[in-house]
């Protein structure tokens, strides 16, 4: 498991790459919002039972881990530049993830919902463009 934390007085960031199931309850319990924050946007991605029309039972995720860490750091820096976000946490599963299991969990905390939603959506869109993680469907 890789965990990266970086706050250094600015936006809090936590990235976790893990081959273990994501504990959603623990993720929620670890939320940390200051008094000036009024919105926490969450996104949960789960493995679908079909891929390109074929039934599957799992997806195997492969990552170029040190580049993943660096590229997420660049995305987090851009979020900090664009929006008044207090904190971003992102957990991505690697290895074999079965259908219905959670592959991605994201939290963005901001003063208002507009920034929280915008930053969360932007982060996931950019992740799918630049973060070197690949999926290999495993047939049922």
């Amino acid at each position: 498991m890789i965990q990266l934390r970086n706050s250094a007085g600015g936006m809090k960031r936590k990235l976790t790459l893990t081959d273990q199931p994501i504990d959603e309850s623990a993720f929620l319990r670890q939320r940390c919002m200051s008094a000036n924050m009024g919105a926490a946007a969450y996104f949960l991605g789960a493995v679908r039972g079909t891929e390109d029309g074929a039934v599957i039972n799992a997806i195997e995720y492969e990552a170029f881990e040190k580049m993943v860490v660096h590229q997420f750091d660049l995305l987090f820096a851009e979020i900090e530049r664009r929006w008044p976000v207090e904190s971003v946490r992102l957990t991505h599963r690697l290895g074999v993830v079965k259908v219905n299991e959670v592959s991605l969990l994201v939290e963005v905390i901001a003063p208002h919902r507009a920034e929280a939603f915008a930053a969360c959506q932007w982060l996931i869109d950019e992740m799918k463009r630049v973060i070197p993680i690949w999926k290999k469907p495993l047939a049922a």
Binding site: H70, L104, P132, W134, K135
Partner: protein, 81 residues
């Protein structure tokens, strides 16, 4: 100069290896290395335009001039999430 090349995802299966090493003349570009790899591994040729190129942990354009010891990575479009 000596360059290490890593292949990820299905490019690894198409080349039959995860990592190789190449000796290039000083001043060689990333694009020139890519072309050489396409000649060496013709099964990569159909993905020429969609293949992403990185040096170290950063994406680089084909005109990037390689340095001795660079670690180059080739991979298909990413699919996280």
């Amino acid at each position: 100069m000596q360059i290490t090349i890593q292949f990820f995802s299905y490019l690894k299966e198409l080349t039959g290896c995860a990592q190789i090493s190449e000796t290039l003349a000083a001043g060689a570009t990333l694009g020139a290395l890519h072309d050489r790899l396409l000649a060496q591994f013709p099964r990569l040729a159909p993905m020429r335009k969609s293949t992403l190129l990185a040096v170290g942990v950063d994406y680089q354009a084909r005109d990037y001039v390689l340095q001795d010891g660079d670690e180059v990575s080739l991979f298909p479009p990413v699919q996280g999430g």
